[in-house]
């Protein structure tokens, strides 16, 4: 056996004969030693270049190999590649300064035990190389074995935040010099966002619970809070709407509209001392575009709402229409662009001194949210918003535009990895 190997090694190389002889001798010794080793004597060699990562989706074995200075317990998580005759061995504890500590690895896959006989067989045929333990989708494990979340779903979170929110209201006759600027205004936010997808990923249900913003520190305090909002998007296999014409020969026309729904209950808006309570809204919505995972969308929606006017103690009909967008700009969910243009008009409202009948509201908002850092894997985001509003429903207030720019921070709990997240083996992100 050995002479055969020696001959093969010598015959297949172009190096000088002495070198080849030396290498062949080393190889023969290594193979002979491997065959003789027990698992506890099996040495884990250093990886060339970056350490490979164990694959979370494949089976992992927990074994004891040769104790070393770096891994005194000799306990490793092992995954083998029979094709390359390699076994990746990752320390089963977190390292500090390259030395194993007592801290356990977090978010590892369950590991099985490998019978000693099988490990002995592997030791004869496979080389054991230092590796990094596996990490679930959307998480990254560094060389020390510590785990960090690198992919965030900001559509599933509980958030709160604050922002500096100056506002500007142009003066009469569009004379900017007569306008008023309020630089001392701040905004506080709170909200719970949930998203539920079906198994096939063809339906996405969104829930927003107790979302609200309060603008404080200026002449007119503003509050906008919604008890619950629900909407959904779906990716259908067949056209949801078809029209059959019966003029001439009957024909069917398929309309591939992404028809869905949008509902809201108990929305309260306070502007100074004027309060408006939306009892319920029901809108039909059409996704003009949505991403394959349905998280990003551009849609229009329209429908009726019932609004209770706290001043007149009367209920009005409020048709509303909106164009809304929510884009997650990158794979890992770090950049978000949102926007909305909304129009509302009241009907059957009771007369109120200083306000015309059937008043209107028009609102526009464009926002950007960026994950700056994560504290204990909870993201801290930078939020920048631009807002514009026109309304004539405030008694005694001259109808007109007002603008606002908000810049602040938002802290989010939960924010798990996105459903589209994959395993991160090499982290090249800066």
């Amino acid at each position: 056996m050995l002479p055969t190997l020696l001959l093969l090694t010598l015959g297949q190389s172009t190096e000088p004969v002495d070198d080849r002889l030396e290498k062949a001798r080393d190889l023969v010794h290594e193979l002979a030693n491997r065959a003789a080793r027990t698992p506890s004597e099996l040495e884990v060699t250093r990886a060339e270049g970056d350490r490979p990562h164990l694959d979370y989706a494949r089976e992992v074995w927990c074994v004891e190999l040769k104790k070393s200075t770096a891994v005194p317990s000799g306990r490793y998580r092992v995954q083998c590649d029979d094709g390359r005759q390699l076994c990746f061995a990752a320390p089963d504890r977190v390292l500090r300064d390259g030395v194993e500590t007592e801290e356990e690895l977090q978010r590892t896959a369950p590991c099985g035990t490998l019978p000693p006989s099988q490990l002995e067989k592997l030791s004869a045929t496979h080389r054991f190389v230092e590796a990094v333990a596996e990490a679930p989708d959307g998480w990254y494990r560094d060389d020390q074995g510590r785990i960090i979340q690198v992919n965030f779903d900001l559509h599933r979170r509980v958030y709160f935040g604050g922002a500096w929110a100056p506002s500007f209201r142009p003066g009469a006759a569009r004379d900017l010099s007569l306008g008023s600027m309020d630089l001392g205004r701040g905004r506080a936010d709170f909200g719970i966002e949930l998203e539920l997808a079906n198994d096939a990923g063809r339906e996405l249900h969104r829930l927003h619970i107790l979302e609200g913003s309060a603008f404080i520190g200026s002449r007119d305090t503003r509050l906008m809070a919604t008890a619950i909002r629900y909407d959904w998007s779906s990716r259908r296999l067949a056209a949801p709407v078809w029209i059959t014409t019966f003029v001439g020969r009957p024909r069917r026309l398929d309309l591939d509209v992404n028809l869905a729904g949008w509902f809201e209950a108990v929305r309260f808006e306070l502007i100074s001392d004027q309060g408006f309570l939306t009892l319920a809204s029901a809108n039909a919505s059409i996704d003009l575009w949505h991403s394959r995972d349905l998280q990003s969308y551009l849609r229009v929606r329209a429908g009726p709402a019932g609004e209770f006017d706290l001043q007149t103690r009367s209920v009005s009909l409020r048709p509303e229409a909106a164009l809304e967008a929510d884009f997650t700009l990158d794979r890992d969910g770090f950049h978000h662009l949102t926007g909305a243009v909304t129009g509302e008009k009241l009907f059957f409202d009771q007369a109120l001194a200083g306000r015309r009948k059937s008043p209107e509201r028009f609102k526009a908002r464009l926002g950007y949210e960026l994950i700056l850092l994560a504290i204990n894997d909870y993201p801290l985001t930078l939020v920048v918003d631009g807002r514009a509003q026109w309304r004539d429903d405030l008694p005694g207030v001259t109808p007109g535009w007002d603008f606002g720019v908000d810049a602040g921070l938002r802290f989010s709990f939960w924010a798990p990895a996105r459903r589209s997240a994959t395993q991160v083996f090499n982290r090249t992100r800066g």
């Binding site: 078809w242 029209i243 059959t244 069917r252």
Partner: protein, 295 residues
Amino acid sequence: MLAALTTAVLAAASAVGAELPEPCWQHAANGARFRTCFDPGRGLELSAGGSARSLNPALDLGLGLRLRGARDSRSKAGTTWLLQHRLLGADARWSKAERHLTLTAYEGLARRHVDEGFLLLPTTPPIRLPFPLDLGLYGRAARYERRVEDGLGWSFETARLAMLFDPLRSATGRFHLGFGPTLAHQLRHDGLTLHHELTPLTALQLVINAESEDGRWVFRCAGQAGWTFDPAAFTRGGTLRARGELQLERVLLAVNDHPLSVQLHASGAWRDAGALAQSEWSAGGALKVQLFAHR
């Protein structure tokens, strides 16, 4: 042997049946199928349109639930009851000058169709004479009408019942041509006084219903004319009142197999409209969606 033969014949018959095209369905080029037949006598009706009442234009809205059925008589062989109902009807008319609301709890028709109609005279021996008419019943219950421009007045028809004779004798519920005497009671409040009006078989009721086989064309006509009496002053004689309406519908398209039709209608009343028992006419058109009008 016989059993095997019967099984084979039944299997062949079911195979032939499976290959028969469904008469009310067609297939688009992409293979998707769609309905081409509807049942105008079934489903939830929603209509919106406009009409002119004595040259005053107004917006009309309508709502109602239609049901239809047919049932073979258990006691009389060769007899079928053809049933047609309209429940919870609501019709509104709105303009700057007019605000009308009409609510009807029930309106329906039941026609007894026999394969071979006859009259049996109880002579000895009995004489059997051909009778060329189907018999039927028309009923309406709880019809409330309120017109805001009439002040505080309103009218409420408690019940109307008519026995109908149908010379058409159609075997399907798509065609009815019924006429006959009617019995009715109505309350009319002119804002000051409540009046009872009784029609003791002194009026004639007419009901016509005709539909194309695919249900895309519908013609309806209903009317009554005759004398009503005040029960408290019966001897003063009756008042001639008449009312009638015509409807023509054509299904233009269907959305998700729910038909949308255009409707032309005309109606007239002689001393019978509203709480003040006025005379009037109106004509207009509407678009009507009939949800679940499936056969």
